[in-house]
Amino acid sequence: MKIVLLVITFVCITLIGLMINNYYKKRKNFFCDICEFCDSLKVSISYSQNKLNEIICDFKKTCSKEFCDFLASYQKFLLSENSKEDLQGCKELKILSEKERQDVFNFFCKLGSLGVDEEVEKIVLNKNLFSKTKERCDEQQRKLSPLYIKLFVVLALLVLIIFL
């Protein structure tokens, strides 16, 4: 019985490490996707001038689940009689910090409100901002993810050794 409990504890502690790893991975993927989305917007707006909803529908086919879910809630916001506060609700992305959430909010709530040149200019500026965050997330994932996995495996082993 004791061994079974210890194995469960070992697995749980290791899973916490994996979850932290997953958290960093999701953050990185989110910002990778948002940068790619900015590129896609830039091309579509300056060339074919597709409408925002069409661009989003196309992009949703290729992006990560987190970003896809975010875009889906953003589409709902676009289609309903919303105030900016409603977008706040749809962008409750727990993997982002408050500042990152605010940046994403500021970008999306004003998207599509300008002419072609101004819109492209704004997208480029925002992409630069998101690229910096993406680089930071990438670095965090490279440094912290393996560290947390190792740390929690060691912790799990320690628990095993102590209680055996």
């Binding site: 707006i45 001038q49 597709n50 409408k51 925002l52 909803n53 676009l78 289609l79 009689e81 998207l111 599509g112 409100s113 300008l114 002419g115 072609v116 819109e119």
Partner: protein
């Protein structure tokens, strides 16, 4: 048609009106909403149409912005060129005229800001409305035809029906439809949402000048159709097309033939007898009243 355009409270009020008969909805900042039904104007109240302005819905800035945002489908950039020209066309051929402050850049109009009024005009498909005059537009073959009409008298509806009937009656003309303002066929995502028959190539959102020059070369049309010719450039395109042996069907804003004769820059077209048929429309007995069909010498053919 209005579902994606107006907020819910406005739709509820509209649902108490004879929606199918609405021609026009006028939204003016801080003024009462006015609706035109069958050529007559009413105020819009929560309970429907009213003559009492006190009961009418007040149009505030938020309503105008909401309708504008919805009309642009949150993609103002996709409508930049239309906004510069003072209108937006949405799905179903609904044309929204825009009033606001002009923003200029290097001697050209960049956009309109601080939008103060919107005029929502609803197109009507009246199948068969061209039948009473259709045969008079032929003399062995289709004759160059100009529809002369004041605004709101049904010239676009008539043009659309003529194009439709040409294919219905199997005339087998290749028609090039120059739909500069997306009003005639209202192409949406590449498909005509209003019925223009099966022999029609549609060039949407392009200037007449471009369409005439490139369309004749690349699409080899038998008839070129366009709406609302105005200004020297349009008239020059018409002259070019007529000299290329292509038939024309066009419309022009004018009260009657006398006013047309006085129209600036139009003398050359009349002198050269580019058009051999003039169809005069009015709103005398409601939009689409045909006042008469005239030949190149402006003599009655059909009244």
């Amino acid at each position: 048609m209005f579902d994606k355009l107006f907020p819910k409270f406005f739709l509820d009020a509209l649902n108490n009106c004879p929606v199918a008969k609405i021609n026009e909805i006028r939204l003016r900042m801080n003024k009462k909403v006015v609706i035109s039904v069958g050529g007559k104007s009413y105020f819009l109240a929560v309970s429907g149409l009213t003559g009492n302005s006190e009961k009418a819905i007040l149009c505030d800035k938020n309503l105008i912005l909401e309708v504008f945002k919805n009309a642009c489908e949150n993609s103002v950039y996709a409508f930049s060129n239309q906004i510069k020209n003072g209108f937006i066309t949405v799905k179903g051929g609904v044309r929204i005229g825009i009033c606001g402050e002009a923003v200029w850049e290097k001697n050209s109009l960049k956009t309109l800001k601080n939008i103060s009024s919107l005029v929502v005009r609803i197109p009507r498909e009246v199948k068969g409305c061209s039948l009473p005059i259709l045969s008079s537009l032929f003399l062995q073959s289709f004759q160059n035809t100009l529809i002369v009409s004041p605004p709101g008298a049904g010239k676009t509806t008539l043009i659309r029906d003529i194009v439709f009937e040409l294919s219905q009656k199997n005339y087998c003309y290749n028609v090039l439809l120059v739909d500069e303002r997306f009003e005639i066929a209202n192409s949406f995502e590449g498909f005509a949402t209003l019925d223009v028959g099966g022999f029609c190539d549609i060039l949407s959102g392009v200037s007449k000048n471009y369409a005439f020059e490139n369309g004749i070369r690349s699409l080899k049309p038998d008839i070129i159709v366009c709406d609302e010719i105005s200004g020297e450039r349009d008239f020059s395109s018409i002259l070019t097309a007529s000299s290329c042996g292509v038939n024309l069907l066009a419309s022009v804003h004018s009260k009657d033939l006398e006013s047309l004769k006085k129209k600036k820059d139009f003398e050359e077209i009349l002198e050269k007898k580019v058009f051999s048929r003039f169809v005069v429309l009015s709103s005398r007995e409601g939009p689409g009243t045909i006042e008469g069909v005239y030949d190149e010498n402006m003599r009655y053919i059909v009244q």
